[in-house]
């Protein structure tokens, strides 16, 4: 499926959901617009436009994403997602450091030492700024930081 067609289908579903849910919330209540006012108004606009976009794709199919491309962006996001989970266990800064080292070694084929040379100062600076100076309460791991 082309990107445009996918966008048309997704925005149709989103628009329709917002429209119907907006009706349930109340489009016009107590002599004025209700909580569903904007959802109904712009939900229906989205539905109409998504149909028009779909019709456009019948004429020009538009660009598509290759399977490789989809895989790449999903895998990068997955790597970031796993790092987020790791934060709860190892603490934010340890997991971010591991993420940097793993990325540099595995994706960019940096030797471990070179990767450490980049990751350790980066994380150290981030730690000093965000924890020591600004005292942002990042998740801590069992090392206590």
């Amino acid at each position: 499926m082309s990107g445009d067609r996918l966008a048309a289908v997704v925005s149709f579903v989103v628009g329709l959901y917002w429209f119907l849910q907006g009706l349930a919330y109340g489009y016009w209540i107590d002599m004025g617009p209700g909580p569903g006012f904007i959802p109904v108004l712009f939900g229906s606009l989205t539905v109409i436009l998504s149909i028009s976009l779909f019709l456009q794709t019948l004429r020009h199919k538009g660009a598509t994403m290759s399977a490789g491309e989809v895989r790449t962006i999903l895998l990068v996001s997955a790597a970031v997602g796993v790092t987020i989970f790791l934060m709860h266990i190892l603490g934010a800064f340890t997991s971010l450091g591991l993420f940097l080292v793993a990325w540099l070694c595995l994706l960019e084929h940096y030797p471990l030492l070179a990767a450490l040379k980049i990751a350790v100062p980066t994380i150290l600076v981030a730690y000093l700024v965000f924890i020591v100076w600004l005292q942002v309460p990042f998740p801590k791991g069992f090392f206590g930081f």
Binding site: D4, F42, L45, T46, I73, I84, A126
Partner: protein, 508 residues
Amino acid sequence: MEIWNYLLLGFGQALQPVNVLFAFLGGLMGVIVGALPGLGSVAGVALLLPLTFKMNPATAIIMLAALYYGNMFGGSISAILINIPGDSPGVMTALDGNQLAKQGRAGQALFMAFSASFCGGLIGIIILTLMGPLLAFFGLKFGPPEFASLIVLALTSIGWLLGDNPVKGVIAGAVGLLLATIGVDMIQGQPRFTFGLVNLSAGVPFIPFVIGLFGLSQVLLMQAHSEEFAGKENPYQKLSLSSSFPTPADWARSAWTIVRSAFLGFYIGLLPGSGATTAAFLSYIAEKRLNRNPERLGKGAIEGVAASEAANNAASIGAFAPLLSLGIPGSGTTAILLGGLMMWGLTPGPLLFKEEPQFVWGLIASMYVGNLLVAITCILAIPFLVYVLKVPRSVLAPIIVVICLLGAYSVNNSVFDLWVMIFAGLLGYFMNRFSFPIPALVLSLVLGPRLQTSIRQSFMMSHGSALIFLNRPISLSLLLIAFILTLLPALSAWQKKRRSAPAAEATR
């Protein structure tokens, strides 16, 4: 002439070495906090406030104010260099600023951003000096109906942000408005579209969303299209100040933009409950409308950077007018400043100007000093800042991810926001890849919540009559402008047709 004497009195205060020093230190901290994504001036001022309780109140407020406007300088740095807006007023700077950096003009973009920030701030301070208290009362005239009309005007202007395919543009804008409806409804107190997630009850967390939309999506782009980027490092300039100086043509294009945006930004900063972010967005739209080559904006036009930066600095100054003369905080940061002032036993309000002229005018005079010092420091730092571009892409990509995670978390100290960031990153990638205009989505996401609230407050004020939007002069004029501007393209098309019709007859 009275003002002149007061200002001299103020400078006597502001130029004391200790006050100059703290204006500089506050400004510098503001720049750093502003450049760090996620941490805005609210966090900076809140953090510094307890440390200032032991200081002399005038010195303390001079430092905190400097932190606030210094923050507006800093936001542009990360926006231009790595396409992550440091804070929400920096979003519009990223649009053109990062494009300029990609064209190898990062130095010039930064120079223009800082100069525009300085000029915007300066114009703001001059207006504040001359008629601040008066304007604060004028800002009060802006009630819910006026806000609703202003946002309607802004949204009709969205047409100019649409890009090549108008259908895609309007979809992006409409979806932005739909996303803006997520969260507990302000008027009815009813949760909407939260899918049972408590974390969505406050709405889509805006800054984490934008960090993903801009920052993470570009890392995805680098990875998915690595062959395009292979061997092509970011064009990076020689590390010198003179090569960062914008060209005369750049200045010529930006001069009026800066002045216009500063006035607009200052006025928006005055309005209750709207701050630097709204100012930057509206100035950018105005620039898009008024620019002779609007299609250049968003593709690396230096006046886009100037518009947004001049406006957000002027707005940060504008927010001081209601704070000092009415005791009303216009934004989160000024609310904290108000708390600080009360702690020191200074009560902002109409009496403050009479009872504590030394304090008020010392603060205003210090803004001239601090603004200049921060601008000079920032400009001198350009050669070092541009150094970021020397970092090879293979290293920069994972570091950007780390910065995105740190920044997105710091806004609300919430892990949930990190997932929002990833979602927005994927969305941003998709929108980029299939040319859906991101600015349209961001704009309606910013203005949407205020639109709904204002419309509904207006109807409550009028007990159900829509005439309230037409009965009030400011609201009516805003709606008329919106109406004319929407009709303008149709009108000019009709005129073209009419003009070409006789011509066609003549050739017949």
